[in-house]
Symmetry: C2
Subunit: 215 residues, 2 copies
DNA sequence: AAACAATTTAAACGCTTGTTTGAAGTATGT
DNA sequence: ACATACTTCAAACAAGCGTTTAAATTGTTT
């Protein structure tokens, strides 16, 4: 359930997708030209239009290629902890729920440079309410966010929905910052401590878990 | 101290700045053309180059015009609570410090549509590590962030700097989401509760205050 | 009222953009 | 080996971009 099979691409298509992904992340989607993509990928200028139809469709392909497996994994983990709690005849905890969403996200973003680039694109998109491709992104995320909210509501039945929705938005904001090195530089900061993934995951989960239940 | 005087603009310049601000926020900086700005503002196409020199300099002017008074106010509030605590011979609390930063930010962003647009641009910029204008933005923010970090470090002396830096980044992420209606839509959500500013400020401060000291 | 400076205007500039074209090349199946 | 489909290629296309120009207009000073 909720599983979506990935799409297969030819070698040329994958080179284009990889190159576009990297340039979108580092230069921005709008600022990246087809000439920049094709010359970097060492393919002909017309290759993008031939293989993907248009620049717009290329962007969508870049997004869907990685979004699908990531969301599959997030769904898998959420279902897993819900099932485990049911088996053990108890409620899921807030930290469990948030971990099931945050762990795949941060693990995914730290897997390699390509994944880091991809998450960079995604977070930029999340921050751009009026972006042309945001509706695509939102439609992909919606079922997952709904499931996440329902799980949190069940774990924290006394908190009003309005408040809980707000805190979930804050959580997404925290996660967006966590999954990149956006770092407004801090003077005291010595050249990026570069903590490992597990520490980052733990810190993020405990930060938002505490925020979910203040006082 | 830390106060920077605002720049004066002519009527034509202000119309251009207002229009550019709105279009930058709703369409993105790169996607907004000078022709779109000047035709919407009902001024001649050449007016931007005449009054600001170039599109690049116009963007900088849009940023600086509002950033300066906002940061003046943030500095004022931070200095105020530090002075008050000193007068009362006690440490500043974490919630006080975060409130002094968050309150002016959210109040500013909710003042009117123009301010909302501006904060939309700023948050997009914060999320774009490789954006051309990020360095300008960071240089403006740096003294403030440093002061904020120093205050937090003094209030939470037992927390390692590395951890504290991470939590400050999370806080900025939360605030970035709070100051806009970015809202990944949640199904249970009934057409935006639209809570008032004071509630939003309180919720944000308590969320990040809790996150600063988990357990 | 005349002279000067500041601003606005319409038109054009060179350049880059995404896309399309038709020929050349390559792979596949019989 | 040939016919057929697929892919690559260089070249060109119209459209849109930021910027510049020089004349017309407006505002200010003397």
């Amino acid at each position: 359930m909720n599983y979506i099979a990935p799409v297969k691409y030819s070698a040329t298509q994958e080179i284009i997708l990889d190159t576009a992904e990297h340039l979108f992340a580092t230069q921005g989607i709008h600022a990246t030209t087809l000439r920049a993509i094709t010359s970097t990928a060492k393919v002909n200028l017309a290759a993008v239009n031939y293989h993907f139809g248009s620049k717009k469709q290329l962007i969508q392909a870049v997004l869907l290629r990685r979004m699908t497996p990531l969301n599959n994994e997030r769904h898998r983990q959420l279902n897993a902890i819900i099932q485990t709690a049911r088996d053990e005849n108890r409620r899921t905890t807030v930290a469990e729920i948030l971990h099931a969403f945050i762990e795949p996200t941060l693990h995914f973003s730290q897997k390699n440079m390509a994944h880091k680039d991809f998450m960079s694109i995604v977070s930029t998109l999340m921050m751009n309410p009026h972006n042309e491709f945001r509706s695509l992104f939102v439609s992909i995320m919606k079922p997952l966010i709904d499931q996440l909210f329902a799980a949190l509501k069940a774990a924290l039945p006394t908190i009003p929905s309005t408040t809980l929705q707000m805190r979930l938005q804050f959580t997404l904001g925290t996660l967006t910052f966590a999954m990149r090195e956006i770092d407004i530089p801090i003077s005291a900061q010595q050249q990026q401590p570069a903590s490992d993934i597990e520490t980052l995951i733990d810190e993020t989960v405990s930060f938002v878990s505490a925020g979910m239940e203040p006082l």
